[in-house]
Point group: C2
Amino acid sequence: MLRPWKTILHINLDCEKAVFQQIADGITEEIRKGRLQPGMPLPGSRVLADDLGVNRKTVVLAYEELLAEGWLQSAYKRGTFVSEKLPVATGSRKRQGERNRTAPERFGFMMHRSGMVSSRIAEKSVITFNDGLPDVKLAPLDELSRAYKRIFQQKARCQLLGYGNERGEERLRAAVSTMLTHDRGLHVKMDSICITRGSQMALYLTAHTLVRPGDVVAIESPGYLPAFEAFTYAGARMHPVKVNEQGICVVELEKLCRRKKVKAVYVTPHHQFPTTVSMKADRRMELIALSNKYGFAIVEDDYDHDYHFGLRNLLPLASYADAANVIYISSLSKLIAPAVRIGYVTGPKDFIDSLSALRMIIDRQGDTVMEHAVAELMEEGIIHKHARKALGVYRERREHMAVSLDKYAHRIATYRKPEGGLAYWITFNQYINTEELAVKLLKKGVQVTAPDKFFFDNMPVSALRLGFASLDNHALEEGVKIIAANVKF
Amino acid sequence: MLRPWKTILHINLDCEKAVFQQIADGITEEIRKGRLQPGMPLPGSRVLADDLGVNRKTVVLAYEELLAEGWLQSAYKRGTFVSEKLPVATGSRKRQGERNRTAPERFGFMMHRSGMVSSRIAEKSVITFNDGLPDVKLAPLDELSRAYKRIFQQKARCQLLGYGNERGEERLRAAVSTMLTHDRGLHVKMDSICITRGSQMALYLTAHTLVRPGDVVAIESPGYLPAFEAFTYAGARMHPVKVNEQGICVVELEKLCRRKKVKAVYVTPHHQFPTTVSMKADRRMELIALSNKYGFAIVEDDYDHDYHFGLRNLLPLASYADAANVIYISSLSKLIAPAVRIGYVTGPKDFIDSLSALRMIIDRQGDTVMEHAVAELMEEGIIHKHARKALGVYRERREHMAVSLDKYAHRIATYRKPEGGLAYWITFNQYINTEELAVKLLKKGVQVTAPDKFFFDNMPVSALRLGFASLDNHALEEGVKIIAANVKF
């Protein structure tokens, strides 16, 4: 030790940390950094105390602690040393110039990648057509806040804040079960529901419970990238199947089934992502018949089922009499706000049992407080009321979007009012590079998502999905106007 | 159709649902159930209207909707039929007695299993020695509730409730980074932190980013089952390595490294789970040196680091100068309450990048509201204050537990005061079947966890981990007394 101890061990009497601790910390810091090496002697307690200007007992206490922890050793009459048992910290040697020692071997790992983007919209001045998110400004946040408060104030709160059930709180599963019966024609027992962190976790769990590496999974194309990634990550070989005006092309799917053992098909029948097409009744029944014939699972993503503008809400595949192979996924996130991450998955009891065991390994359980708060909003009818109110607002915006499109875009693109969901799908009349368009538009103050991420078969893309729900009439019109003005064939 | 329409379609004028919708729903229900089959004729609108006692226009509206959805088809002058394009629903055939048709092919899936238990403690009359949970009654729940309230009231709340960052809210990562610097001697940039749903998700993500199927992972034995499961589920071949009074047996580990390429080692150095042993300084440095020599990752689980009863808190392996291969995991859940699922993982930037991409696929992001609420408690020093207060209470309970053990159990078991953490590890002086003991104890009103789940090498087990933090002095003494009275060698 060339430097005096005073410059190494900085004693601060105002510090919350006891002085003996500051000394002990300083010494171990020097050892860990390799500046004090095994076998090096430490000054006697009296010397160090003098040097630091502290009581000798304080130094003794620090040394005793370090001896107990194994940092130091003491030899009778010879004094105190850095423990010989400690290996030499290599950090030090570099500093001392031994540059030719071998660098530490580094561990390797896998490079996961995701094409999903989670950017929060940053600039206010930009008109953002997202991919179909609800307007958080309409969300029943005051009610949600009050529900949280009540839960924190209730007597049983300590019970709630311990560990919960990996399938989700019973209270919420009961509320979801009731809602599914009323709104979706589904009769599901509480044990066959697993509450998840948004529909994304439902997709991940489903994929990892269904798929062994190499299994074939069919997916709509264009389709929903996060589902594609969840299945791919589980090891599935993905087979995109075309979507037309009636929904997924069942004939093409059956051809695939004849060639390969298809494990599962992922579909969004209520209004297809991204094209907004509602799957017609005959397609639905054919798809179910195929699944029973070939024994594949239908993973039905019934997202945004509350946002349907037709006269009548379409019931999901899972509600059909023959739907023995349907795994049903939906979410409350879009009904309240994206950050309220509550999704759910239902299916055969033994499937949900298996999926729930995996969930336990991933994150043990959901957010019990949030689950109770949302259950309360459901029980009190607040969610239902909110959905109806929001639907009215979105209906109006959907109309205004149509007016704007008719005004500015009818010559360059085809589109039609979506029967459900919160986005328009517009197809340009001629090919246009939408990625370049997106870059150009951003400079003009309009943000759109280039749709190449929706196409899994590498087809040239000439369409946009324009979410309209979070924009007011002025922004909608202005946005459409700017898009139209920048499309050049 | 043999039954009259009136008994099939139940019209309720008080129902919130429009009458035409009730008619349309009733008809599709009959089709989906297979009672109305493809090609069957429907009554004329006038006839049906008379039969049901409704206006004809209402029936026409229902039929038009069903035609548009593809359920019905109409033939010029011949009337309206159930669409021929619909496949026959098989549910019906069974009802009609065609029992010899083939049953639908069912989809197969994997049976996941977890040995983890998430039971909420049900009976109040039972004295529960959990495996080391904090006392939720001490948690700063009022402060947490107020933080939630403030977040819901703030102007930017709509921003917060949209999508967030998959690594966690910046504000919380900043607070965690500051805390790590102050309390754990770790200097971590915000980008190298990923906030997770409790430490369990940190383990899951780490395992799935490190391990390819077949990779060798070493784990302390006895050890932490949820970590064992996370790595196993990622496909690791697990190698249990013994733990003694100094911590994991480094000599044994090096033997393993010489025989096989070890990918990672999972350790709990601060106070080992379940034995409560703190890893000694020489072991720590040897372990780091080994990891640099053989290029394996050290996954350091620094759980409960706030609960240390010694004079000086031990700094984690990750703070050592040579610790190039350490992935550091910890959690705030036990500091606040198990249901507040906030953990975190830090490591090399590129590793955290990869891990965060996987996180995106699993559940997109964390709970932004909770993350802000917890960040606020950290910024305001409430968490720190709570930890100090709780530590005082736990110190007292730890003392009382020692007194109780000395009074009732000193003849039958060895144990020592844990340096950190919220549990005692007691080893019986002779072999005893702890599973049978647990069953017997439950009948006497004491719940303990049989420790066979901690041992990964199938050794006979004769010890118990007794969490003391949630029990008051009376319960502690009574519990220990009952355990001692029921141990018979």
